[in-house]
């Protein structure tokens, strides 16, 4: 199993609308953030996406990216969270 501990998890939750993935991915590519994995579901009409990304070569700091993504989320009416993967790894893996 690949270790994701040093990776970052981006979650997007909100009302489904056209172009959510495009908007987020455009931001990520413009800032040198590599997407490693995407999974997405719709739960009772709500868009639910998780991305595993590598921010080691990101153009901006973690906190700046967090703020930018937050602002993008507000624009398109979804909640975007950006967290280090380690917290999930620790909680769900022994």
């Amino acid at each position: 199993m690949e270790n994701t501990a040093d990776k970052t998890i981006i979650t997007v939750v909100g009302k489904d609308t056209v172009g959510i993935i495009a908007k987020v991915c455009t931001y990520l590519s413009e800032n040198g953030i590599n997407v490693l994995d995407i999974s997405q579901t719709i739960v009772s009409g709500y868009f639910n996406m998780m991305m595993i990304v590598d921010m080691n070569r990101a153009a901006k700091s973690f906190v700046e990216c967090q703020k930018d993504l937050d602002a993008i989320g507000e624009q398109i009416g979804v909640s975007i969270k950006c967290q280090k993967a380690e917290i999930f790894e620790k909680m769900h893996r022994i």
């Binding site: 998890i9 973690f62 967290q83």
Partner: protein, 454 residues
Amino acid sequence: MINIFEVNETNNMVEHENLDVRTITIGISLLSCIDSDLKKLNQNIYECITGVAKDLARVAKEIEAEYGIPIVNKRISVTPIALIGGAACKTPEDFATIADTMDRAAEAVGADLIGGYSALVSKGMTKADELLIRSIPIALCRTKRVCSSVNLASTKTGINMDAVRLMGEILLEVAERSKDRDSVDCMKLVVFCNAPDDNPFMAGAFHGVTEADAVINVGVSGPGVVKTALEKVRGENFEVLCETIKRTAFKVTRVGQLVAQEASRRLGIPFGIIDLSLAPTPAIGDSVADILREIGLEYAGAPGTTAALAMLNDQVKKGGVMASSYVGGLSGAFIPVSEDQGMIDSVKAGAITLEKLEAMTCVCSVGLDMIAIPGDTKATTISGMIADEMALGMVNQKTTAARLIPVIGKGVGDTVEFGGLFGYAPIMPVNRYSCDDFINRTGRIPAPIHSFKN
């Protein structure tokens, strides 16, 4: 690879079930600050605390942002001040100046509370111990962040009944001095039997003399997470119930372990322990009493409560121990009254009494916690309640404590507001029969026979 369901589960715990890290507490040894000149001593203490803890608030904020886990409190605990101030302090007022210094230092580094205005007197009181204890009312009433604790008993030494008697009087004095604010300063004072050296929770945190120069201790929380998990196993047998609690406690504790390791790395201070306590807040859904109700009791306090709590406490430890490399502190379920909406509901419904709470303290961490009692309760009666709690800890070889709040000017039927995380509490009736002649005996209760293990 982590999957979307696991990520959602974790984020749900934070967003909907009140999962948080209750506190990062830096323990700081002040032994190197000792000086016989009071001014110099205060200066040393200020420099030491602000030096070691200068990055505490910043690091906590960083961790909070990067992992998306709220860190509710940033705290400091120091070496019991009775040991530090002994050489310089000749009066209670001298000691109180140290409390002022602690308060200023905590504020300077952005710490919410600072503990360690303490004395360890389980067998006897030194002159310094007694001066410190007598200074507690002055110190607590003129500082905002300072917390005080006194260890009155231990399994190895027995109960120092002279100190128990004195603490009944001191508690009433603290209540009297803050009577215009519903005697709230009493919540910054706790008495212990078998006080742990590495407790990160207030008001009882102090940095024990067995500890290194500085250490990071972390207290996790998560009653809401346990309750939500139990909602899914309603009607199942005890095996399923216990497994569910253990699994949940494991997950909650892992978050604490991660935060503790990160805080330790970023601050350059060694990791001490994780405290596995289930710590409630007055927020809806963040209640230990609600877990007991989910387990099957109409109210906390109903027959079966002690058994349910014993089981809960044990499973939390079993799940948590494997999740952390070092466990310590109090580690168990807290059952404060004012800080737990479910407990407040029980009191209001008449489902729980002080006597039942006392029984519950035999099987969980700590003891009679955040309980408002009538302001006209006699000092000897308070000492009697403290002595009972100390006896439970001494005989059962566990930590017990009492944090009672005699609310001056109020009686049974009244409610008292403490504000914020401290909640509110209906005043509980106290047994009205006297224990004067028992409390007024001098000396100490000897250690129990089973403490002689050598």
